[in-house]
């Protein structure tokens, strides 16, 4: 079975400060990991993914994430947050042995960036 945990329901950060959204995962084999963002009343938009290779993955809108196998984590980061980054962020994992490209999502973390 595969699972994802996002330990923080909400993260508050001042504009211009670094933003970190935490994610830990559990899979039986090697993971494929994803981050998605959801703006109000919209569908999910893909930010970035880790498949293999470099542990630091760069994605859209200046976001990046670091894969840490020993800590089973895939935290999302942005060096300088913008008010427009306020949204709901989802981490997702796929066990490479799972059929159907099925993703398991975390519960989501709401990010509020204050001016």
């Amino acid at each position: 079975a595969q699972s994802v945990a996002q330990p923080e329901d909400q993260v508050n950060v001042a504009e211009g400060n670094p933003l970190t959204v935490k994610c830990t995962y559990s899979v039986s084999g090697n993971p494929y990991l994803f981050w998605y963002v959801q703006y109000p009343n919209r569908g999910l938009q893909f930010l970035l993914k880790y498949i293999t290779g470099d542990n630091l993955v760069k994605g859209s809108y200046g976001f990046e994430a670091e894969f840490n196998k020993s800590q089973t984590s895939f935290h999302l980061k942005k060096p300088s947050a913008l008010v427009s980054d306020s949204a709901l962020y989802f981490c997702a994992v796929r066990d490479i042995q799972a059929a159907g490209n099925k993703l398991t999502f975390g519960g989501g973390t709401r990010v509020l960036v204050k001016p």
Partner: protein
């Protein structure tokens, strides 16, 4: 290229009524998925399809049926709606039947209320 579209955007049903949600994608994707999103629970997979004419159960399939008669369309049916099915429903699609998983692309969602 519209991506993934969903019909309708909003719907209110009475308990016991039936309805069908339509998902269409114009990206020639093999895989399609139906999720529901509830507060604090992230996205949960209802049913998915790995190709035209095939469907499979996800994490929360009870009370729902699906059909994939055409590659570009994936229908989600509620035969007898219950208040517990009040949720936001998202459709997604992806391509890769083998190899590294491709990104799932999401539709804008359908907000369903069952009274």
């Amino acid at each position: 290229n519209a991506g993934v579209t969903q019909t309708p955007k909003f719907r209110v049903l009475k308990t016991g009524q039936s309805m069908t949600l339509l998902c269409a994608q114009d990206m020639n994707h093999e895989y399609m998925y139906w999720y529901r999103q509830d507060p604090g629970m992230g996205l949960r997979l209802i049913h998915y399809s790995v190709g035209e004419g095939t469907t499979a159960k996800g994490e929360v399939p009870d009370g729902y049926n699906v059909s994939r008669l055409k590659k570009q369309n994936f229908l989600l049916g509620l035969e007898s709606a219950a208040p517990s099915q009040t949720s936001v429903y998202f459709c997604a699609s992806s391509y890769s039947p083998s190899g590294p998983p491709d990104t799932q692309y999401f539709g804008p969602g359908t907000r369903l209320t069952v009274l």
